[in-house]
């Protein structure tokens, strides 16, 4: 315990080329975190590239207009992805480097370089593959680090195929009880930090039985029909490693647990491509591990820090230090910061 928590984020992010910011819900403070990182980079005179899978720097919340949003301030020379209309609305001098051909509901995404410092709205590509291409392009054009801001609770852009670092934003908006906020944050962190799929080490299975690894049919996993899942387990009584190429939903995990007779006490490990392919709403990976289902990932995510917003807009608030300490106690190994309150 009592690890020294740095007051600044940028030292935690050194070596990261493309950083994804992911919030656990709306209003957990992603954009405030982004603004803090940008301010630190500006102070260090580091050129950055910024994109958002949603929209950033808008004045008011898109669902609840009573909530004011922070502005995003960039420096001269910084690269950004936005639409022509939003760039123009900023009133800032800029150079349009190229049109990306990526169409969004707000218009086509333009890659630009600012000629002067100021606040601007960011709106880049939504699809993870487009985000990755754009980040590569920004790095080629001289960005020292690309910041990929998330939207609502979307995680796809934090895939290791897109980003090589992650900052998670959590906050009071998740629940009225601090314990609930801590537990939901811990589940989300467990998911982001799924262990790397390891070679079979014999711990899960007596050595005399031969382990069978199965690659599952995508339709079977998505549809998650309890009878089909039970039939699969019946047909493969030795199967202990289930490999899933696409999405793993909670329905499928529940289907596995429901097939008690077919499982007959067997422990399973499920291997997914990366943590962004797993969709859990009710239970965290820890709970499934206790039921004998371990979830592992072929590629893992580098979680660098957790930031907190102790305020739930239009509702309650916690004391920042208490929330930080509670989360840090439950989630060892990750620095927990409030970028607005380091006291």
């Amino acid at each position: 315990m009592a690890e020294a928590v740095p007051e600044r984020l940028s030292p935690l992010l050194s070596g990261v080329r493309s950083l994804a910011l992911v919030g656990l819900a709306k209003n957990t403070g992603k954009t405030v975190t982004l603004a803090a990182i940008l301010a630190e980079h500006a102070a260090g005179a580091r050129t950055v590239g910024v994109t958002s899978i949603g929209r950033d720097g808008e004045r008011r919340d898109v669902i609840d207009a009573r909530i004011e949003k922070p502005s995003v301030r960039l420096q001269a020379g910084d690269l950004l992805a936005s639409t022509g209309a939003l760039l123009r609305a900023s009133g800032l001098a800029h150079e349009r480097i190229e049109r990306t051909g990526v169409r969004t509901p707000l218009g086509e995404v333009v890659l630009a370089r600012l000629s002067e410092a100021g606040a601007v709205e960011i709106a880049g590509p939504s699809a993870a593959a487009d985000v990755r291409d754009l980040a590569e392009r920004m790095l080629d054009l001289g960005a020292e680090q690309v910041l990929i801001d998330g939207a609502i609770d979307r995680r796809a852009a934090s895939s290791p195929a897109v980003a090589d670092g992650l900052v998670m934003a959590t906050g009071a908006v998740l629940g009225e009880d601090i314990e609930d906020v801590v537990e939901m944050t811990r589940d989300a962190v467990d998911l982001a930090r799924l262990p790397a799929a390891r070679a079979h080490d014999g711990r899960h299975q007596p050595a005399r039985e031969r382990e069978e690894a199965l690659t599952l049919d995508r339709m079977l996993v998505l549809e998650a029909e309890p009878r089909a899942i039970a039939a699969l387990l019946r047909e493969h009584p030795q199967a202990c490693s289930l490999h899933i190429e696409g999405a793993l939903s909670e329905r499928f995990l529940e289907g596995l647990l429901a097939a008690r007779r077919e499982l007959a006490g067997r422990e399973l490990r499920i291997v997914v491509a990366d943590p962004t392919r797993v969709f859990l709403q009710r239970r965290g990976p820890r709970w499934y591990a206790r039921q004998g289902i371990a979830i592992e990932a072929r590629r893992t995510i580098g979680l660098r820090a957790i930031t907190i917003n102790p305020v739930a807009p239009q509702a309650h608030r916690f004391e920042s230090r208490r929330l930080r300490e509670s989360i840090a106690a439950a989630i060892p190994g990750v620095p927990v910061l409030d970028v607005l309150d380091s006291a």
């Binding site: 123009r88 169409r103 993870a128 593959a129 979307r154 998505l222 549809e223 939903s249 969709f279």
Partner: protein, 302 residues
């Protein structure tokens, strides 16, 4: 999205009749009263008069003081020459007003229409023709009210033959092959159907409230499509009473449709977006691998 059209205050002559809109960027000739689309303001009696009609209620008793309060409020909003043309008591303590007022503000329409911000709506016949020319095969659309939403009325209005307000749904078009999965469909099941049917577009309806639950259900659909490696192929659209394009962008959808949407609006978007994707995929294939190569998505998609 197409807003409900308010009744015109002073019945101006048919809009556009005296002055046909000039293409963006065209020079404006003051004598010809051409519209400068980069600086437009509201139109009532004549071009550029900036006159708008306001309709609102104040929680004050009917009377001359109420009338004066409405004028002061409009002046505070920045309107010039606010004029109350009608006011009446709604119920004790409430007065409803209709006002005309002038706005000096202008807006740059030209740049917005140039930047792909707009969906150009087509009629049913135009959509059929466009699809035949640019797509040349049935466009497969899968729709559902997802998650816990039991309201399928929105999705039915867009997809089913019957449609609404005399506009039939996508099922009635030759260009579309529609599959309406109904309500309370889990996201993973919807994605399974879309993959199985090799769908071009998915349309979901969802009532969005300030509760995180509803938006989380919409973002989950987008994320499952990403996890299945289909995001670039599949057009994702959502509709609901509070779904704007701004919200659609946050949610990760390609378009959002709100109140006032008719099936041909959704159809226009889908055929144009699909045609654009077919075009860019063909162009990318012709050029070979480049920085924006669509096939490079394979790595991301596992």
């Amino acid at each position: 999205m197409s807003a409900d059209t308010p009744t015109a205050p002073r019945a101006p002559t048919a809009p556009g009749a005296p002055t046909a809109p000039t293409p963006p960027g065209a020079p404006t000739t003051p004598g010809a009263r051409a519209v400068d689309l980069s600086r437009v303001r509201p139109y009532a009696d004549h071009l550029d008069d900036g006159i708008v009609q306001l309709s609102f209620t104040l929680p004050v008793p009917y009377g001359l003081a109420a009338r004066r309060a409405a004028q002061e409020w409009a002046a505070q909003m920045g309107f010039e020459h606010p004029e109350v043309v009608h006011y009446q008591e709604l119920t004790a303590g409430y007065t409803h007003f209709v006002m005309f007022a002038e706005s000096r503000q202008r807006v740059d329409y030209a740049s917005l229409s140039e930047e792909g911000f707009d969906i150009e709506y087509m009629s049913e016949e135009q959509i059929e023709q466009f699809a035949a020319e640019h797509i040349g095969r049935p466009i497969v659309v899968v729709g559902a009210a997802t998650g816990t939403d039991t309201h399928s009325v929105g999705i039915d209005a867009m997809l089913n033959l019957k449609g609404f307000h005399g506009h039939h749904g996508l099922e009635g078009y030759r260009a579309f092959e529609t599959h309406n999965l109904g309500s309370q469909v889990p996201n993973s099941v919807l994605v399974a159907r879309a993959i199985e049917l090799d769908a071009d577009a998915v349309l979901v309806s969802q009532t969005v409230t300030q509760q995180n639950l509803h938006v989380a259900n919409l973002t989950e659909l987008v994320e499952i499509v990403e996890a299945e490696g289909r995001r670039r192929q599949l057009i994702l659209t959502c509709g609901g009473p509070r779904v704007s394009n701004e919200l659609a962008k946050e949610l990760g959808f390609d378009a959002g449709f709100s109140k006032g949407t008719y099936p041909h609006h959704v159809a226009s978007f889908i055929v144009r977006e699909l045609a654009a994707r077919v075009e860019s995929t063909t162009a990318a294939a012709a050029q070979g691998a480049g920085p924006w190569d669509v096939d490079a998505a394979e790595d991301v998609n596992g």
